[in-house]
Symmetry: C3
């Protein structure tokens, strides 16, 4: 079978500045995953291909779309149902992104997690939170407008509920990034409301010149996870030296005077160059104790070791 | 993640005239859709990627295939089931196309619709017809042979029924295109028969030098849509000036002395250049009245406004 | 819609020896398939697109992944479920392949089949065997390590059972290829065990300078197909002259003193150049007779004629 060989980072040539482009990238994982969450220690493999498309209008607006092999791009329920695709248009007015994209809360708040594990063990334990807010609660068809001004950026978002409940989700977020004597600092604040629940998340992160990164986050979840008035707090600390990244994180869901669900994760990445990274991850959920849910201390843990391959 | 940047219209280079090629194109839609057909006014997004492959034999025959990300290319029921793909081979003998392609009636008859709407509102109302004939009634695995001679082209097609009914569909079509003093004129005539039903469609279209286009169509449907001896007639009128296209259409299904189902649509497209087009569409089905089906006049209407993005 | 034209065999250019690449290839089939296995003689079409990705680490290890449009790349049951993808890493230590790949038995044993038919008639009759061994019996997530030394290569493989039965599959294989006075000769020997069944397969093949190829195979199947102590034996003979390949094969499943299930196949391929091949195939299963299963001699037969198109 004949083949087309394409080299990454190669811009093939184009008919003019306004030409549309399609960018193809791939990602694969191979290794071993285990822990008492799965039945047995097992081989772990995954692969995907992503198509990133972009263009420019005659008036200088840029636009694009992204879809991957695992998406469902069919125009199901004529285009009102989400299949994983996103698209955007941007210009001096700002940027509008639609589809399977972050609401303004998730856009503004930064995750506490660093590094990658093939089975995401370090970032998917019982205490993990991804600032997802109310995203996806109303069909997953999200529209977000964002605008940058100097070190600040702000966004508003909407997700229209098509059910009878009609609980449309609206969100607003703002974030800041700056440099203080070699330490890069970032802050994020996001808010979402669906007329039944209202949530906010606030995050801060610092990247020091010695390779240490500290991320912290706090979120008020309004009964989204473990009960009334639940909140989440987490911290992630990482260190990069040469090709090596090691990181740890801890997160806890709490209800005032009530139960707690927490967990922690560890990850190590070693970059082999050329797109290959050795990845090891561990995560455990501390689901037990006096004021905590469940009865078995640290009963759910998972780990994985393998390669992450980018093309 | 590393990326391959490919520019549209770039022919990368090839090993010889007989080399096979793969062409990648993308299309995305983003906007808002509403009307009483859907539950509520809602965001609308869609994206797809199409792979168009072609090659040439040593003897000068050209061949190709087309499949997209939303197709189901698996060899289900060993290749006898259709997943949306098409393939062809052509030469001086003509062209044979197989797969999810038009039968000879649809190939010969031209649609009355112009322009695009992200939710296809203008061309999917209750009175719309797409000259689909009996295509898809026998499994959807179609083979069509076509041949061109001067201003004329003709085609025959077959779709083999695998059910016990054994109602194979055969079709024949002919079309003409010419130029009369700056006005481009086209005619199409198609016929299909499955030994139970027999249908025909006749269409005519004129594209004037002042930017006005008129398309008309008539089809005898033989109880395919609303009853015995049903027919369809429609007209579409469009006007293009600079980057703007506006078009309207009307279509009606009728039974002699019986009910009528009709509808009309409007569409406006403004080309921003570089592949981005602003699209607005409206469609409504006039399903009511004395000799008409249903009781609520114009009860089903839909509209959409957004961007169509080609890559 | 704008398009990207890519020519096969074109290396677009790259940022350095360690750059990752994505190779795109396509395959399509069009024709007619029949025989009393299907209900009626019917059109047959199929198409697929394959993404082959590769890269090199700074230390000189090569790695890659392959996934196609028909795969299910979603990280189902986090990466523990197979969707058809494979990935590898190789270096002076050998090569490790994971995913939907051959176990060591299938890797070592060579199929007896030559040529292609659009519906695989010649190689999918009742007597056909593909040296699949126990592959897929434990979830299909396979890891294989292989190493070459001179004319020899060896492999070991594992497939971990996630069910309660816990019947992990382990395999070992060795193969040889050499040249004796212009005749290329190959041998393969593979063994697999899942603690309930143990299987082996042995194959030999010779490719003569006059265009004749002979492949033979024998496998002990340990009750995998038609009963206790079942075995399989087969032979394939092919002849290539210019653009034409013709081949025949015969295979038989036997139980000592018990029933027999056998079949034979014919195939002819004519290469039109540029990636297009005319393909005709026939297969029949001889499922009858005294010590054989069933009562109708040669009752299951299938045939197909068409084009295989590579891009």
């Amino acid at each position: 079978m004949k083949k087309i060989l394409l080299a990454t980072t190669a811009l093939v040539g184009f008919a003019g500045a306004a030409s549309a482009e399609v960018s193809i990238s791939g990602y694969a994982e191979m290794g071993i995953a285990g822990g008492n969450l799965g039945a047995v220690t097992q081989f772990f493999t995954d692969a995907n291909v992503t198509f990133s498309m972009s263009g420019t209008t005659d008036g200088g607006l840029t636009f694009g779309a992204k879809v991957d092999l695992g998406s469902i791009p069919g125009n199901v329920g004529p285009g009102l149902t989400q299949g994983g695709e996103t698209m955007y248009i941007s210009g001096s007015f700002g940027k509008i992104t639609m589809g399977d994209t972050d609401g303004a809360l998730d856009w503004a708040a930064q995750e506490i997690y660093m590094g990658s594990a093939i089975a995401d063990d370090h970032s998917s334990h019982a205490g993990a939170y991804w600032n997802s807010g109310l995203d996806g609660s109303a069909g997953g068809q999200i529209a977000r407008y964002e605008y940058s001004f100097g070190s600040f950026a702000a966004a508003v978002s909407a997700e229209i509920d098509t059910s009878i409940a009609n609980n449309d989700v609206f969100g607003v977020g703002v974030k800041y990034s700056g440099d203080f004597g070699g330490t890069k600092v970032g802050f994020g604040l996001g808010y979402q409301d669906n007329s039944v629940q209202s949530m906010y998340a606030v995050t801060a992160n610092a990247t020091m010149s010695n390779g240490i990164v500290i991320n912290v986050g706090y979120a008020d979840l309004d009964a989204q996870v473990i009960g009334a008035n639940d909140t989440w707090a987490g911290i992630g600390v990482g260190y990069t030296t040469g090709a090596l990244l090691v990181a740890a994180n801890y997160g806890s869901y709490d209800v005032l005077g009530g139960p707690t669900v927490d967990g922690w994760g560890l990850v190590a990445n070693y970059d082999l160059g050329g797109g290959a990274v050795v990845m090891a991850g561990y995560g455990t959920g501390d689901v037990a104790g006096g004021d905590e849910i469940g009865a078995t201390y640290g009963s759910d843990e998972s780990w994985s070791v393998g390669l992450g391959l980018s093309f």
